[in-house]
Symmetry: C2
Subunit: 282 residues, 2 copies
């Protein structure tokens, strides 16, 4: 651990992000990936998978709130939800804040991510025992391929980068499974990398999502310091219906606390920077 | 240059940002600071002052557009403008895109910043010969203390961090000079660091700005990958009048190209994340 900094060098963008750490708390090699947990001096605990920063205690609220609340306040009544990936359980926790939600199935391929999150990010796992939640450790691609048609309201794809285990989550075949499993008005939400660096990936996601039948697609940018460039996004695709309007009054009167999301920030995230508007024609 | 990466370790936040570089293009020790220019593999040229990343060719548009256009489209008719700092001339270039602007005086304490920008960031300096622009290399604090009362419409404080030469730009005495020099409806704009890490600085800026007479203050967050946490902000203070409304039609019909800013992004930047709303009471 040279100089007590953990640094992720993101080769694709020629940039790096690092954290000052004072201890390595855990390390696990699983059949799927290599997981490390560090204690940082200023960002709480840090989870690293295959050398890539996954989350820190301090800034994960940005990602988890923006992955979940925009879609859940866009859908009229989200009852049945699936999370593909999401093993740290932060997305699950935010989804369960919504009283409309009746069931959430989370399918992460690697049980060790959740076991380590329970120990080192207990605040993210505080809702894991909610009777509405079911945690599976299995192949999310297969789960969605086998899912009953018209059975879901929102599918969250909270995965690692589109290489390795997550590669099969970024293509038309997987999107077609999601489309079929969603009810009319249902929404697919996928983490979609840095708009500055991976705009071509985002473009191809929009294209593939529309090809399989989604009527509307939209990329919402948000800050996320621990990911390359510190600027991240999620992309929403809807099966019938738009993504501009949302339940603004419900969002403004949300019955739970957030640190980033609110109705104004939801509207703000729908705005598209000029270069994204040009590239995505939204 | 270990492994050909330039890395800024930001001690205050225990985080670092780095770039893969393949050459050091220039280095200068001035009476004020130490300046380095690197060529990166993916971000164009990189300017570093006293070890801190100042800008890269690739992502400076975010900062320069958000420092300038929101204030200039909020003011009804910005004619006389001052830039304190801003030696790379990127802010100056954006200001001069506004046809209403009749004069811009830029006062940076260190001429070498501009001389190096002319050579290594020529695109930012392309408007330096505009007859409306005047470049001074002098003490911006003294310049504002001596400025004629009610003579300016917008003052931009485009400085380094609030330590060293820029320290005197972040206090009530300096703000009082700006307030006096601004006409009614005039706007002070100051770069205000990372909202996630330096929220206490932003709070103290708002307080000091209001103490000297500014009627409205507002912090606008925006992504800026090359600065600590990748999330940055500017803070606006207005001498009479608000900061919520702006010339939306003019912004929507702006007679120049941008890559981030547009009328929607202006409105979006006015939205406040929950934790900022709580801290700043805006």
């Amino acid at each position: 651990m040279p100089s007590n900094w953990f640094t992720e060098k993101h080769e694709a963008s020629g940039s790096s992000i690092g954290y000052r750490v004072d201890d390595k708390l855990a390390e696990a090699s699983t059949p799927f990936q290599h997981i490390e947990i560090y204690r940082t001096t200023d960002w709480g605990n840090l989870m690293v998978i295959d050398g890539c920063v996954m989350l820190t205690s301090r800034d994960n609220f940005l990602y988890h709130e923006m992955m979940t609340h925009p879609a859940l306040y866009t859908h009229a009544a989200p009852r049945n939800v699936v999370i593909i990936g999401g093993g740290d359980c932060g997305t699950l926790r935010e989804v369960l804040r919504h009283p409309d939600v009746e069931s959430v199935v989370q399918i992460d391929i690697d049980e060790q991510v959740t076991r380590l999150a329970e120990k080192y990010f207990p605040e993210l796992c505080e809702s894991n025992a909610d009777p509405r939640a079911k945690l599976l450790f299995d192949d999310g691609i297969k789960y969605m391929a086998d899912a009953a048609p018209d059975s879901l309201d929102v599918v969250f794809v909270d995965s690692t980068d589109p290489v390795g285990p997550a590669e099969g989550l970024f293509n038309a075949k997987f999107y077609a499974s999601c489309f079929r499993a969603l009810r009319e008005g249902g929404i697919l939400v996928q983490q979609s990398e840095s708009p500055l660096v991976l705009l071509d990936l985002i473009q191809s996601m929009h294209k593939a999502m529309r090809e399989v039948g989604f009527s509307t697609t939209r990329t919402l940018p948000f800050p996320q310091p621990c990911y390359p460039t510190g600027w991240w996004s999620c992309t929403l695709a809807r099966k019938g219906g738009g993504l501009d309007a949302f339940r603004e009054q419900d969002a403004a009167a949300k019955p739970f606390a957030t640190r980033y999301y609110n109705a104004d920030m939801h509207r703000a995230a729908l705005a598209q920077p000029e270069f994204m508007r040009s590239a995505l024609h939204t």
